[in-house]
């Protein structure tokens, strides 16, 4: 059975167009390559 309140809580507000710039800037563009690089750099350092 669906709990309507729980389900409604799962819905998040959608970003508006003028908020897109902020969203892009805050986007985490780290991939596995970057993570491996950072691990390797930590090891060296």
């Amino acid at each position: 059975m669906i709990n309507f309140d729980e389900e409604i809580a799962k819905f998040q507000p959608s970003l508006e167009v003028d908020q897109a710039e902020e969203a892009i800037f805050n986007n985490d563009l780290t991939d596995i390559t970057d993570m491996i690089e950072s691990i390797l750099n930590e090891k060296k350092g």
Partner: protein, 469 residues
């Protein structure tokens, strides 16, 4: 591929960058994984499993953030699901990593080219947020109104459709909820939320009994969320051109043309021919009628012309006497003179001659007024015998005096008064004879013999006639 450190192009088989010496083994492996995830994401996207495609593409980007193809496809999937801002974000980031020869330029350009559409999508997002707040606060009616507007503005907004379906289900409007979920399912076939709600809907409709298994139960494909069996989705294959289609088409055209020439055209020709013949017959009969009419009309014209000529002849033969105005003046003068003389008892033979002369100027045949004619006759009867006798006597006297010309004038005058007696005729004949006018003399002698056969002068006239012959 490009070296992630220095950006130079490295040959495919080399595991180390020639320019900076970076070890590319891991990079190559992650690239391969990223591409693999991208391929799987593409397959899912092709079959409209957008939720699955997002998962695969995000994994692909986790392996290689510079995988432009994966990022662009992810943007497209977001756009298809109505997530405009997320789509634009991915495309902008894609442009950041690859500024040139990037399909993201086309996608961004297409969105920016229609500012109205972009604005309507933005409005849809705002209304969705308002609707979500209303739903969280328990204002279901307001939320429904807003969500309907959102769907009008952006029919592909899956989250709006799902939220609306949820609210409908909460308010026991199952049919409407089903319609919303069907729309959402059409856009994204394997959306978990949509499928879950559909399953719940089926349970609610059937009275709480679990009549249908979930969509993805044990990996087997059961009957679809709407209770209808889904056909397995086969891979895309290009359709081969069907030769038989063209052959059938040509055959059909040939048969059609043959039917036209062998059946329809002869019938049409025959109909046209018979129509023409009928028209010709009608025309001939009409012509005959007109000819007959014409002949009878011509005959009638000839008859009328003949009648006209006849009438014209009659008309010409009629001598209409000219109306002489002075004629009535003469008779009036004569009547007036007679009355004057008669009333004064002066109607002597000499005066009678005067009146008779006046009367001699009148031609009673030309008089139209019958009263005038009667008057003329009356006066003539009174005065003419007296005047004729007197003038005749004067003529005899002139004859006896051998004044033959004078005698002829007087006797002719007496004759003109009308009703000459035997003496006047005899002396007229003698005078004419004396003047060597024998034919005229014969005429007077004959008249004497005709009018006065018992006269004493008849035998003398007869004798003179014999002498003349």
């Amino acid at each position: 591929m490009n070296c992630p450190k220095c950006g130079n192009v490295v040959a495919v088989r080399r595991n180390r960058c020639e320019f900076c010496g970076k070890d590319l083994t891991i990079v190559r492996k992650t690239d391969r994984l990223s591409n693999s995830y991208y391929n799987r994401g593409l397959e899912k996207a092709k079959v409209r499993d957008l939720t699955g495609a997002i998962i695969m593409l995000k994994k692909s980007l986790e392996m290689n953030k510079r995988n432009t193809n994966a990022r662009n496809l992810l943007g497209l999937v977001f756009f298809e699901m109505g997530e405009t801002v997320a789509a634009l974000s991915e495309w902008v980031i894609s442009k950041h990593f690859q500024a040139k020869d990037n399909d993201a330029d086309v996608y961004i350009g297409a969105v920016q080219a229609n500012p109205t559409k972009l604005d309507s999508m933005n409005q849809a997002i705002k209304k969705y947020n308002i609707a979500l707040d209303s739903a969280k606060q328990g204002s279901d009616d307001l939320a429904i109104i807003q969500l309907k507007k959102v769907i009008n503005l952006n029919p592909h907004f899956i989250r709006a459709l799902q939220l609306l379906a949820l609210i409908y289900m909460k308010n026991n409007e199952f049919e409407r909820a089903r319609r919303c979920l069907a729309k959402a399912n059409k856009i994204d076939l394997a959306n978990t939320t949509t499928l879950r709600y559909l399953s719940e809907l089926n349970q609610l409709v059937s009275g709480g009994e679990t009549t249908s298994a979930p969509y993805w139960s044990d990996g087997e494909v059961n009957s679809g969320p709407l209770g209808k069996p889904l056909s397995p989705i086969s891979s895309y294959k290009e359709e081969k051109p069907n030769v038989w289609l063209f052959i059938n088409l040509i055959l059909g055209v040939v048969i059609g043309v043959s039917v036209l020439f062998f059946l329809i055209v002869p019938t049409v020709k025959k109909n046209a021919q018979s129509e023409y013949l009928q028209k010709q017959r009608d025309f001939d009969s009409e012509q005959l009628v007109y000819r007959t009419k014409l002949t009878s009309s011509e005959k009638e014209v000839e008859d009328l012309k003949a009648k006209l000529a006849e009438k014209q002849k009659e008309l010409d033969s009629i001598d209409i006497p000219e109306y002489d105005k002075t004629m009535y003046d003469s008779i009036l003068s004569a009547v007036y003179r007679y009355i004057e003389l008669d009333s004064t008892n002066n109607l002597t033979p000499e005066n009678s001659i005067e009146v008779a002369d006046l009367l001699s100027k009148v031609d009673p045949s030309k008089m139209e007024n019958q009263d005038a004619v009667k008057l003329y006759e009356m006066v003539k009867q009174k005065v003419s015998p007296i005047a004729a006798k007197e003038v005749s006597q004067q003529g005899k006297t002139a004859f006896n005096n051998k004044e033959y010309e004078k005698a002829l004038t007087l006797l002719t005058q007496a004759y003109s008064y009308g009703d000459p007696d035997d003496n006047t005729l005899y002396y007229l004949g003698k005078t004419q004879q004396e003047l060597d006018q024998y034919e005229e003399a014969k005429t007077y002698y004959n008249q004497l013999l005709t009018d006065f056969p018992n006269s004493s002068l008849a035998k003398y006239a007869k004798q003179r006639l014999n002498d003349l012959q």
